[in-house]
Symmetry: C2
Subunit: 805 residues, 2 copies
């Protein structure tokens, strides 16, 4: 699969002609524009990527007749005069023209995929970008959402290239509505519709209405007189049309348009070239020491589609200036999944449409003492699919940090109520070293003291944090490595034949015993000292921002068991029949903001531990990578701790946009999509690369049992783990983490991962796309969207492997 | 103006027929549906709200001929056979049929507004809702976005009623695209498109494609065979069509559809009736003591449009069961502006489209070391329009609470750096009593101890909070009332002739002196004791969640002056040339999350004080009431305090969705719209009710000078202030606050405001719409969107005044 993305060349202007409907005059307008532009440019390219019907009647033939300096071409010509999606099914043969040869080749229709059309268009346009001033007009087939050969729509087919759009409006009866709807369909797909033009048809006067309508929306609209009536004589007809084109091209509406188009093109480039410098002036970036910031270190992201950003960097500007066939925009795989949020591809039209529907149905509606359908449905979906019988109530906030503040408030208030602690008691949490739960003060206080919080005057570490054994692949072997200081207590590094064996808790009863002894003893000692634990707070399996550390799941499981069965903690525990739904010891809070909702391959990340948390927080993938929303889901027992006749016993927490319908609706659509992918075996190909042949075990508790797997292949991990720079590697679900050796022993300050990041962003010479990634200290990590294909991951693996040379 | 909203009757089913284009067979499908439904219902209503062309050719005439139990009617009939927006301009006369009379009346076209069409349709449908099973089919004119008489689109005209939609797809060449685009246009306007149907036209096979397409999107789609060719004989034609209707109505696609439609109707009602009870099961509501919660106290919000929710309550269910002409949904004015966020009307199609465009262009793109156009543009718009030369850098977060955490981190870190304080020093903020800045722990710590935070184990009040004089209207007079304990220091209650006089700081030099003396002395005393102030944190003018208290702006101004010129605070102040851009004393943080961006009538709320803050936080109206986003804008001096060669000196704060493009884009559109309204004098009518005649003073500093005004009239305030239950009243910009007398002296626990709230939500018998409001203790408050008309505010004033009887 070829990856092509948004393009922008300094000297080659490209515009794409869409029609509000069929028969609105796309080819006539294209002809007028070719005529008009040929006065300004020595060569005008007209390109029809896909055409159906006899070749001799094709639009490109028509355009070729207009003038000798109009170079017209069709890339895929289907013989049947039907819609491309039908022609692609039925046509036996298709002519496919390649940029490097004037002759045409016969292809079977099977070869006409969206990818092949985009790649052919991309290559054709690239061949025009010679560094001389030029223009290319790309005419689509049918209307905006008319089917492409693959069956998808025109607008979706071409979206990755995101060419500036010239929309031909509908002058016919009903054309006001079809034109605006077509514009809306382009707009919600993220296109930049620069102009709308249509015939000035007097009967319906659509053009007057539409000019005002679009002016109101900062879209330039104009009209030209309709073409002359058909003559009976072909020669007469051709002459009349030539005259018409000549006159229309010279009309002030068209010359105004062409000037505007050329200005827009220059302005777009100027904006792109200045945006990073302007950002340095106006923006305070997150998580950044700004002494390291300059316009050269800021990546401009012009748009994004699927797995890729369309990026512009200082380096890209330089590359284009050296080689004019190089686009100013370069596709870069979004390997941080946009800070771990991206799940269903950038610019996903269904999520965009869902967001708009909710905004159109509600806008925002305040959530105090109220309910709306998207919020209820989302809560029910979470409760049903987490596979955790304890969970019973969903609380909404706007981001993970706020949602974890709520989780901690819930947990420690419930513990305080049961234990009879007062507000003066110092209540702390139990956590793991390297945990991260957010940047608001309450969640910062849940992290152990570190260089990140030590300069924050209001930071107070409120907890006790345990070190823990980590899972890694080292030199081709899976290992569980305890930290040095724990070796005495829990034993030394163990090796395993497969990742799955690490999750096979039953076989690891010896490890369990030593872990349990250690946890019990540590807890007992702390409680002995009078420590008041309000909650156990942890990220299941994967500690993200703390450094992409994969905790031994058995250790986390042990810790939960230890906490829940510690007799000195269970001061007021009631005996209970049936499944245990109430918390014992202390509430267990799972921060699944990063790890939940399929990031690690499962709906629930705590299901890997075989435990039912009392409180779970979800965000990031929750909204598929579109906008912020967070849920904190709690057990009935936690909820009940806040119920009394006294208002001040309540959880007096809320945000203005609590449970905003747009976020809840997008979350519903995202979850529905991922659950459907799961049920439909979308990830089976990836799983196949991990399952040992013949094995069919179902190891883990809960309804989400199954083997551990990753979108990154085990073979790749093995190969990487042998690289000389690599200390160790890990992958689970969509996440890959490579810990690089740190020659200077500086860990966070180590430059190795930065170098890797910069190398991948720069790319090799002539590489069609690069990798945009983020690092954490000496860990270089990457993650895919849940929709990324195996083919793309394979290409990534190749690039990553090569970068480690 | 009549306010009609979404309707839903238990026994009267209504569906609205839209066309993907003109000429796709809306009337034929309506006829088929009428035929099909008449087998199930004794009476079928067909309604064409607006028709153009000769009356004898009108669609309702055609429908009437089909069967005697089809009651067909047109509400507005224009004689000219042109698009309604042209007919409404040109037609001298129009027939307007009223529900209570079978005869038609002649109206001039001036009377045909969107409001009148909606009201007529609403009343007509209401007259059908007799409590007997029935159905009404409402056929629109032209395509989905074809113009209505007013010039707006069909879909926008009827959106307030939000009837379930039957979309007739386009069977013609190009119809796949026009049908999907039409569906998208309906979808982004929040419609529930239940079914798509079209003629099974063999040549283009649109129906096969569209059935699959919509099935994928959970929209039921079906086709019927096209009508027979026209005969030359009219009688023959009529007979053939009758046969065709009969056959089509009996076809399995249509009978499947009718069954599904009836089931959907019942399901919609069942869902609406159970949603509150299900919410009680699954939701943990914000800010609520859940012992007070039951299904009867939860308002179901089915949709919203403009200023109004479409609400369903237990009371409304009862009203409908008593009177079947009452809709299960009732319009309720959203008087809390959905927790103070709403600015440009619910379901605003432009904001919905903008959100979708950004989602389509980007999805989310991570903001670390990156920039995208919407984020840069928003930052620049804020910096340019705040009129505060100090502000220089914009930091993004997701909600006000997180944004204020950032503001406080910025302020106290900058102060600590300049003063050489270490992390061990106890740094506090200076604030006002009753302040509220959010519910995350860092912002909770900025609020004085109160019943809201006292049970939060991790709460630590980190500040010193001053009491302050308040502005109120009491018995028709404007007063500034100092709290009792300050009377000695700052004097007693003062009265003023106008609100404007309170803002006339020059005339109030005596007040200034006494305030200043008090502030200086208090500060000196605290600093003497060793208090380390990291920042002054305040909400300019209006302290929101703390109880809608209007602070005397002169007192807040004084406090800033005192802080900035206090010699004991300015330990390391450098002398400076030109305008003062660096902070002195301590950084001044203005929390304008609620008060900024026109909520009080101005872009900047601190401009009322004539001060330039060092840090300003904005949210709520920032995104016009769609989704969460917050900006924290800081001066260059604050920013510079974090710049060094050491990464740990940086503000290591960030959220995954930082500067999400959807939020930034919606904010850009919202601000653009409000700034345009401001420039265009949108609020002049409101201002006119406040300006004393002949006065033309420009009192306040900055580019945003102008008189103080409110969307609530001064005359209304005067009248309300004389009501016996009322203690005092205040209004500024869109905000109104009525403090009710508290006979029991219980203040927050007082029930007076709750009673008022409940009374307004219940409404009087037969009232077309009610008021949904929130209260804060004994304060009942309301606010309008910035787009609410004076007419609506007048109606609100009447209802509020009446409720105070």
């Amino acid at each position: 699969m070829r990856q092509v993305g948004a393009v922008l060349w300094p000297k080659l202007r490209v515009l794409q002609v869409y029609g509000a409907n069929t028969g609105v005059g796309k080819t006539i307008f294209s002809s007028i524009l070719c005529r008009a532009f040929q006065k300004r440019f020595p060569k005008v390219h007209y390109l029809k990527p896909v055409s159906t019907g006899p070749q001799e009647e094709a639009d490109d033939r028509h355009l070729s007749t207009l003038s000798s300096n109009i170079k017209a071409k069709c890339l895929y010509q289907f013989a049947d005069p039907v819609s491309p999606h039908i022609a692609a099914r039925s046509s036996k043969e298709v002519c496919h023209s390649q940029p490097d040869s004037p002759s045409t080749k016969a292809y079977t229709s099977q070869s006409v995929t969206d990818d092949s059309v985009r790649a052919a268009l991309h290559d054709e346009l690239s061949s025009y970008a010679t560094g001389e001033d030029g223009i290319a007009i790309v005419e689509t087939a049918g209307g905006v959402l008319s089917p492409a050969p693959s069956g998808g729509s025109q607008a979706d087919l071409y979206r990755p290239l995101r060419l500036p759009v010239f929309l031909v409006g509908d002058h016919q009866l009903g054309g006001i509505g079809t034109t605006i709807s077509a514009w809306e369909s382009l707009h919600i797909r993220g296109y930049d519709v620069q102009s709308v033009a249509l015939f000035a048809e007097g009967r319906y006067d659509n053009h007057s209405y539409l000019k005002d309508y679009f002016a109101e929306r900062d879209v330039h609209a104009f009209s030209v007189r309709p073409p002359p009536e058909r003559h009976s004589s072909i020669a007469e007809d051709a002459r009349a049309m030539q005259e018409y084109y000549e006159e229309a091209a010279a009309s002030s509406s068209v010359t105004n348009y062409t000037s505007k188009f050329l200005q827009d093109h220059d302005k777009r480039i100027a904006d792109l070239e200045s945006i990073s410098a302007e950002a340095v002036e106006a923006i305070w970036h997150p998580f950044m020491q700004h002494s390291e910031r300059s316009k050269d270190t800021i990546t401009a992201i012009d748009s994004a589609y699927g797995d890729y950003f369309a990026t512009h960097t200082t380096q890209q500007a330089l590359a284009t200036s050296l080689n004019p066939t190089t686009s100013l925009l370069k596709p870069a795989f979004d390997a941080s999944a946009s800070w771990w949020t991206q799940g269903l591809g950038h610019g996903n039209p269904r999520l965009a449409l869902t967001a708009a529907h909710a905004a159109g149905r509600y806008g925002h509606v305040m959530f105090a003492s109220a309910i709306h359908d998207p919020a209820l449905r989302l809560a029910q979906t979470l409760l049903t699919n987490m596979g955790n019988p304890r969970l019973s109530k969903v609380f909404y906030t706007d981001n993970g940090s706020a949602g974890m503040e709520v989780a901690v408030k819930m947990g420690i208030r419930a513990a305080a109520a049961r234990n009879g602690w007062s507000a003066d008691d110092e209540i702390v949490i139990l956590g793991l070293k390297g945990s991260y739960h957010g940047d608001t003060m309450g969640t910062m206080d849940c992290a152990e003291p570190s260089i990140y919080n030590k300069k924050e005057p209001w930071y107070t570490g409120r907890g006790h944090w345990l070190d823990f054994p980590q899972v890694k692949m080292r030199k081709g072997r899976w290992v569980v490595e305890p930290p040095e200081e724990l070796e005495g207590a829990v034993g030394e590094t163990r090796t395993f034949d497969s990742l799955d064996d690490i999750f096979d808790f039953e076989k690891r009863s010896k490890d369990y015993s030593s872990y349990r002894r250690y946890c019990d003893a540590t807890l007992a000692e702390l409680i002995q000292k009078g420590t008041k634990f309000g909650a156990l707070v942890m990220e299941p399996i994967l500690l993200g921002a703390g450094g992409m550390m994969f905790a031994d799941p058995l250790f986390q499981r042990c810790l939960v068991d230890s906490v829940r069965h510690n007799h000195s903690l269970n001061t007021q525990q009631q005996p209970q029949q049936g499944p245990q739904l109430d918390w014992t010891g202390m509430p267990v809070i799972c921060d699944e903001i990063f790890t939940g909702l399929y990031r690690l391959g499962r709906f629930s990340a705590s299901s890997f531990l075989g435990i039912d948390a009392d409180i779970v927080a979800n965000a990031k993938l929750l909204t598929g990578g579109v906008l912020p929303l967070c849920t904190t889901t709690a057990s009935q027992a936690i909820f009940d701790a806040f119920v009394s006749e006294d208002k001040t016993d309540a959880l007096l927490h809320g945000h203005s946009y609590t449970a905003h319908p747009v976020g809840c609706s997008v979350a519903n659509e995202s979850l529905k999509t991922m659950m459907k992918m799961d049920r439909g075996g979308w990830w089976d190909g990836f799983k196949g690369l991990w399952s040992p042949p013949g094995s069919n075990r179902s190891l883990l508790s809960g309804g989400q049992a199954g083997r551990a797997w990753s979108m990154w292949s085990e073979a790749f991990l093995k190969a990487v783990s042998h690289r000389s720079q690599v200390d160790s590697v890990f992958a689970l679900g969509s996440v890959l983490a490579i810990t690089l050796k740190d020659p200077d022993g500086k860990s966070y300050a180590s430059k190795a991962a930065y170098e890797m990041r910069d190398k991948l962003l720069a790319g090799a010479d002539g590489e069609e796309w690069v990798i945009h990634s983020r690092v954490l200290g000496n860990v270089w990590y990457a993650m895919a969207a849940m929709t990324t294909t195996r083919e793309t991951v394979e290409s990534l693996e190749e690039k990553i492997f090569a970068a480690l040379e």
